[in-house]
């Protein structure tokens, strides 16, 4: 059994952890200290909006209309680039947050969304089963992502060469998981600061 159902106490602890993380408000790193399978009772959309260092992606999901997807019953996992990751895109990151570029932002975010409830522990289990070879997951875009452990670091990459490090163990919600990343998984053109 991979993940026992939360008892009421455990759920409360998970919620308290999220509140605590929100209270920190000092950047994305704190968001990564959550333990695997911490899970809040709220939806993925709520968990994301409460997570520190995720303002850009939360706002982007709302502005593109995608946030509603994560308020429903279907399960998704969001590979969520933190605010610093969008900042690292430079002008491109700024442009993408403009209303006239919401379709482009939606296309990029779509490549960060995986089907189902997928924890870092699940990824590690799959890597163990594969003998350390990369494991792949389909996205809601037209691509796959690959996970691999490089030392202690869990790295996710895309076929176009974009790479990001997974920050911590993620945040669970009733209908999905947020896995923070330190970079945006889209190989934008050179000169824009993209990964």
């Amino acid at each position: 059994m991979r993940s026992a159902r939360l008892t009421g106490v455990q759920a409360a602890l998970g919620a308290a952890l999220l509140v605590g993380l929100s209270a920190c408000g000092s950047g994305s790193k704190e968001a990564t200290t959550a333990q695997a399978d911490d899970r809040a009772d709220g939806t993925l959309a709520a968990a994301l909006s409460d997570a520190p260092g995720m303002t850009t992606v939360t706002t982007a999901l709302k502005s593109t209309g995608l946030s509603n997807v994560f308020d429903g019953g279907a399960a998704y996992t969001i590979l969520a680039p933190d605010d610093d990751a969008f900042g690292a895109l430079g002008a491109a990151g700024t442009d993408l947050q403009q209303p006239e570029n919401s379709a482009a932002m939606a296309a990029i975010l779509r490549d960060h969304i995986l089907p189902g409830y997928l924890t870092v522990a699940d990824i590690d289990a799959a890597l163990k089963a594969s003998g350390g070879r990369p494991v792949k997951m389909k996205t809601m875009g037209d691509t796959e992502v690959s996970f691999i452990r490089e030392g202690d670091v869990l790295v996710v990459s895309t076929p176009d060469g974009a790479r990001a490090k997974v920050e911590g163990n993620g945040l669970g919600a009733s209908n999905g998981v947020v896995i923070p990343l330190d970079a945006v998984l889209r190989k934008l053109s050179a000169g824009d600061g993209a990964a």
């Binding site: 993940s3 899970r39 997807v69 189902g116 053109s189």
Partner: protein
Amino acid sequence: MLIRFVTTAAAIALAAVAVNADPGKGNGGDKGNGGGKGGGGDHAGQVHAQADHPGKGGNGKAKSPDDAKPGKSGKSAQGDDRGALRDNSGEGRGGAKNADKAQSRNKDRDDVRFVRDDERGERFDDRGGRGERFSWASLNRREVVEGCPPGLAKKNNGCLPPGLAKKRDDDWREGYDRPDWWGMTGYEGRYSYHDGSLLRLGSNGSILGYLPLLGGALSPGQMWPSFYAPVAVPDYYQDYYNLGSNDGYRYHDDALYSVDPQSQAISSIVALLTGDDFAVGQRLPAGYDVYNLPYSYRDEYADGPDANYRYSDGYVYQVDPKTQLIQTVIELLT
């Protein structure tokens, strides 16, 4: 969410009568994939009526002409073997049909059995299908919308291109004018992004049509392009994604939208889909290496030496760990 049920299929006889306790649902006559809900004319789906499902035929394999159309790479349009042996009576397979259940479908499916096995899957196909057979690819309409996009049409200037051909002045948009940048492959011709759509340009620069984009022309508040007619998805998906009335949702490019039936304005983006085809007896599609079951189902369906489980688009698939062949399809009902 509640787990309704799954039965490993191998032991269930092929000749078993598919039981459906919802004789009034009518997927065949009025909303089959090839039927009269708009999807038929657009998709020319071949409907294999289900004699065992009174009023519920029509979810048969819908071979779409879109097989040959542009689409997302790696997503085949071959038929799906999703078959349903439903018994809403709570008496197990073969229970009595109960017309009353048609009115309480959403709350009274505690003993749904959704069964396929790797042998019966194909034979169901040969028989014209006893269970639900559905592929998102059958709904795909990735043709360019004919005419002028709404934003340009409002300008009433004859749909003149707004200086589209000029070189983008920033690097990150390199490739931005190509459909593949947006995850749409196989399109030929010249395109240019404008205001939430990719404009299809003629050789003289005129606008031939457009591809509306998720989060752009296809976002809340925008009008649904009538070119993409309503489609009917199986009841299960309507329930799972809470799609509401048949005229209140639309599908395009692996996304489900809610629309206002009167105004046709998009209310929300309801769901994103992989659109992957899963068929009992066939290999699990690529890209499902990691256990990903929704939280509420993990106790019930944990990976083990005899079976792995993977989730996609509202279903759980039981997979043989050694062969990677899909053994069983499991419905998850809310």
